[in-house]
Symmetry: C2
Subunit: 266 residues, 2 copies
């Protein structure tokens, strides 16, 4: 069946795609946006069931788009061909490449996680900037964490800029959204040690033992760790800082801590 | 003397400020832009001689702007008050705060560097994205590098987005632009060991000895290290990667390597 063609900027599907940039309509519909060739290819590789694929050949940058569209259709996505103008309206990227998909949101729980004997987890609290959350997901993937647990999110994991900044890691590393108290109780029940990074700590992160069952806890950009985690983490550690106070942001502090753990655990 | 007032979008100064976003006019004029309260404050703290300060009270976000303007004027900056529209035209930030300064470019040379007995330097080659170069400068500051040497730049260090992403580190950490061959000869003459990060290396970065006189060499986003540095660096090292191949970008690889050096050197 040939794809439905859409050229009107007033088409309800066009309007809905624009709405999905915002969290409430996204959560109400239970879906999120995946834009661009690379992201869509990664979603398909990870068996994400794209429900709809919108494409606009006038925006294509390469020659592989038709194959990707065919693959998405074979995997169950409904296809829509958009005019150049209509695609310009639905695209949220600065330089669109004529491909935008809709995928179902998922909700994983802590108890679904399949963990090894010595789990290596990352817990982040109330991250505000989508770019930071995406970079943090990449860091956890590179470091080999089995999951990222997002506590009390300010930015939700299905924000289009998280999807983009994660370069597809959102589709591969299990990402669980849960309240801090429940996460703490769950970690404690499983004997997973919690290491929390805060400038107020006296112990250097590299002097702490980061082997064995481990969860690294990182606070938000503006406020750092909450009172809850400062009080309840097993060990607060700090990263030494030679320069101006704000040279390390949360994404940078995360990758430093995770890779020190990788070094110790190898 | 009260500041000159500008409201016309056709004013030659307004036009020149817009031009300074681009490299050629910036280099021809030998100046660069510093936008926003925090950046301007940091520039003044570091005795950067701002030549001009453009302000527009209708955009101010706080109450400290008049004090900063007075400080800039006392330090020698010529003041200009812009109408709301005129400022909107010259601002390059998404959310302007009514403050934009012009500063003279500098050109430091390797031989001007004052180095300790065991220097700790970062060398980056042909970085393309201003955001990455800014983040890399922050990392070098946090790690306590004495200088960042930018070889064969694609993005120049005075790009407004480098200035912004560096959160003022551009004004504090010496940043030298030089050709790779000259940098290599200079390092060699001073007995500074070069460690180059590349996925093709067999040695793990954390198994290498990163103490003593050290320069960490990082390649560009798209092409990695050039043949020149791959051939001439003393030791190629790699960062272990558990996830998908592109999870670590150059800024992340830089901070991992620099902080392993910090750990070993402390």
């Amino acid at each position: 069946m040939p794809p439905e063609k859409i050229s009107s900027l007033q088409n309800p599907r066009v309007k809905q795609l624009v709405k999905l940039r915002d969290r409430r309509p996204r959560d109400e519909a239970g879906v999120f946006l995946v834009e661009g060739y690379r992201q869509i290819r990664r979603a398909l590789e990870k068996q994400v069931a794209l429900s709809e694929l919108y494409f606009s050949p006038e925006w294509f940058l390469g020659e592989n788009e038709p194959a990707l569209i065919a693959q998405a259709e074979a995997a169950g996505a409904k296809l829509f061909e958009l005019s150049k103008d209509a695609f310009a309206k639905v695209a949220y990227r600065e330089r669109p490449d004529g491909l935008l998909a809709v995928a179902p949101q998922w909700r994983r729980t802590l108890d679904e996680l399949a963990l090894p004997a010595a789990p290596f987890l990352l817990v982040v609290e109330a991250i505000e900037k989508p770019g930071n959350l995406g970079t943090i997901l990449r860091s956890a993937d590179a470091a080999g964490c089995q999951a990222v647990i997002v506590c009390d999110p300010v930015t939700d994991i299905f924000n289009p800029n998280v999807v983009r900044a994660s370069t597809g890691v959102l589709f591969s590393v299990p990402c669980i959204v849960e309240e801090s108290q429940r996460v703490h109780a769950w970690l404690k029940a499983r004997g997973i040690r919690t290491i929390a990074t805060t400038p107020a700590a006296t112990e250097l992160y590299s002097n702490a033992d980061l082997r064995g069952p481990l969860a690294v806890i990182m606070g938000s950009e503006q406020y750092g760790l909450s009172e809850f985690w400062l009080k309840n983490a097993d060990l607060p550690v700090r990263i030494p800082m030679a320069g101006q106070a704000d040279s390390l942001n949360v994404a940078m502090a995360t990758i430093i801590t995770l890779f020190e753990a990788v070094r110790q655990r190898s």
